[in-house]
């Protein structure tokens, strides 16, 4: 479904991505792991066109390098950024509404389902989203992207800065998205959720993919974990 070949990206003069190769099949849950600063976020930003990509990126067979973000989104690629960019002045409901790309074609995720799934969001449906807690914001941004009916959703660091119990809830939400048949690219630093729900994991180091395998293969491979993940 998503194919990335020899992807390079730059911030000014620094060469952040130095030839990333990865692929995600339809309905597959894939995690992109690695320490801070190895280029995980930049990889998803480059796929979305937020950072200019150099190389090959194909989504559903179509070359998306150079396309503006909104067109990439319309192809069915959803992106939940790292900093939970909710629209603070708009209400929870309005935030969700903005996730809808085409009001004439209702998608498989409906507003009521979202609010049923998260009573916390339902209770605050008409309050400005700026007052939500970190966990609620994470649920809101993820749900907002789902409202656009993506076929592949890329979620960047959803558990960052959240309490363990909330991390558990975020994990449940991602598992539910996977059950619905969406492909997921989960960018994470923590192993817990990633190993629980992923079919496959990639590990990044120094702007490249340094390991690819199943969660079990990663668990068995102490050397890789020590070199690329553990602090």
């Amino acid at each position: 479904m998503l194919e990335v070949k020899d992807l390079h990206a730059y911030y000014g003069k620094s060469h952040i991505l130095q030839g990333v190769d990865m692929h995600i099949d339809a309905g597959e849950v894939v995690s992109l792991l690695g320490r801070n600063g190895v280029g995980r976020s930049t990889t998803v930003k480059a796929i979305m066109g937020e950072v200019p990509p150099h190389g090959t990126i194909r989504f559903k067979g179509k070359d998306i390098v150079g396309l503006p973000s909104y067109k990439i989104a319309h192809l069915g690629l959803g992106y939940v950024p790292e900093h939970r960019d909710i629209f603070p002045g708009l209400t929870v409901r309005q935030n969700l509404l903005l996730g809808v790309k085409d009001t004439r074609r209702p998608g498989k995720w409906r507003m009521e389902d979202m609010l049923d799934m998260f009573p916390n969001l339902a209770a605050r449906a008409d309050t400005p989203a700026g007052v939500l807690s970190g966990g609620e914001k994470q649920m809101l941004t993820t749900c907002r992207t789902l409202m656009g009916d993506p076929e592949l959703i890329m979620i960047d660091e959803p558990t960052e800065g959240l309490a363990p119990i909330i991390v558990q809830q975020v994990g449940d939400l991602i598992a539910r998205i996977a059950q619905a048949g969406l492909a997921i690219l989960l960018v994470e630093q923590k192993l817990s959720i990633a190993l629980r729900i992923s079919h496959r994991v990639y590990i990044m180091g120094h702007g490249r993919i340094v390991f690819e395998g199943t969660p079990d293969q990663l668990k068995a491979n102490d050397a890789v974990r020590k070199e690329w993940l553990e602090v």
Binding site: E50, D85, L98, K101
Partner: protein
């Protein structure tokens, strides 16, 4: 005195609403694109001149609709073919573009229409006194201006708060990249906002033209006040722009109308210093300092509360 207060309040609100027609577009454009549009007041001037010319050809009422549309289209073209290309070179380039545009428009207007005031008159249908307060006849045209501005304000509010496009605009004010990631064409929204903002400035020009002076320096006269309004209100804040417009409108109108000076207020306490610099200050009337009041306010706001009345970001 009561008469003065009533009339000045009406005039102040009117001037304030006109300022809001202009500052609303300017502040939204700034917030979305990070560009302080120096040419915004030029669009107001274009509106006045187009309004004048079109009302001579086809009458005031068609001009009231067509002139703002024309100005809006020019605004969209400036965004699409000017600012969008300049954007990749950073905000300074964009700023310089609008700066150059402001001068270019002023010179072009002067070339076509000359530098003297136009004979842009209140349409006959509105050329009568609406009512009298004490001994003053209040012109119907001013009530019309007030009504048009108020109507635009209400429509703007409804569009922003109740429509999907309005939501996209509000979201793009703070998070344009995220809005694009959700599949909205932010570039098109920018162009639209620039067009609507310019059209509103044009509309302000069409209706203000007959009442104020339609002349090639009118943009240069009003432009600085606009910046005061949006900085005072808080860059990017529409409610802030609204309140600041009314305050500046009222302050300026009252200051011009009042003839008080320190001497008249504290007359009996006159220190009797004889002629000196201080006696000059003692005798300066409020009307004389009226033109500098907005700028004093600007400086004060920047010192005391740099984000403005209702702004969220530091300027």
């Amino acid at each position: 005195m009561l008469e003065l207060i009533v009339i000045s309040t009406l005039n102040g609100i009117l001037f304030g609403m006109l300022l809001f027609l202009l500052s609303s577009g300017l502040t939204v454009i700034f917030s979305m694109m990070g560009v302080l549009n120096f040419a915004h007041a030029s669009f107001y001037m274009l509106g006045a001149f187009f309004g004048y010319q079109l009302s001579r050809w086809i009458g005031f009422w068609p001009a009231l609709v067509i002139a703002p549309l024309l100005v809006g289209m020019i605004g969209m073209a400036v965004e699409r073919y000017g600012l969008r290309n300049t954007h990749k070179h950073g905000h300074v380039a964009e700023l310089l573009l609008t700066f150059g545009l402001a001068f270019a428009i002023e010179e072009i207007v002067a070339m076509i229409w000359g530098r003297s005031p136009m004979d842009y008159r209140v349409p006959a249908a509105l050329d009568f006194p609406a009512f009298s307060v004490f001994s003053t006849n209040y012109p119907a045209y001013k009530i019309f201006m007030l009504a048009v501005s108020a109507l635009v304000f209400v429509v703007l509010l409804i569009v922003l708060k109740r429509t999907r496009v309005g939501l996209v605009v509000q979201a793009a004010l703070t998070h344009p990249t995220m809005v694009a990631h959700l599949g909205h064409n932010v570039g098109r929204v920018f162009m639209l906002v620039f067009g609507v903002g310019s059209a509103l400035a044009g509309l302000a020009g069409v209706i203000a033209g007959p009442s104020l002076v339609t002349q090639s320096d009118m943009a240069a006269l009003l432009g600085p006040i606009l910046f005061v309004v949006i900085v005072f209100g808080g860059l990017g804040s529409l409610p802030g722009a609204f309140i600041a417009s009314l305050i500046i409108g009222l302050v300026q109108t009252f200051a011009v109308a009042l003839n008080g000076s320190l001497a008249s207020m504290f007359g009996p306490l006159d220190p009797g210093m004889g002629p000196s610099v201080l006696t000059d200050i003692w005798n300066v009337t409020i009307a004389q300092i009226a033109p500098i009041l907005p700028y004093l306010l600007l400086v004060l706001v920047l010192i005391v509360r740099p984000m403005g009345l209702m702004g969220t970001r530091e300027t």
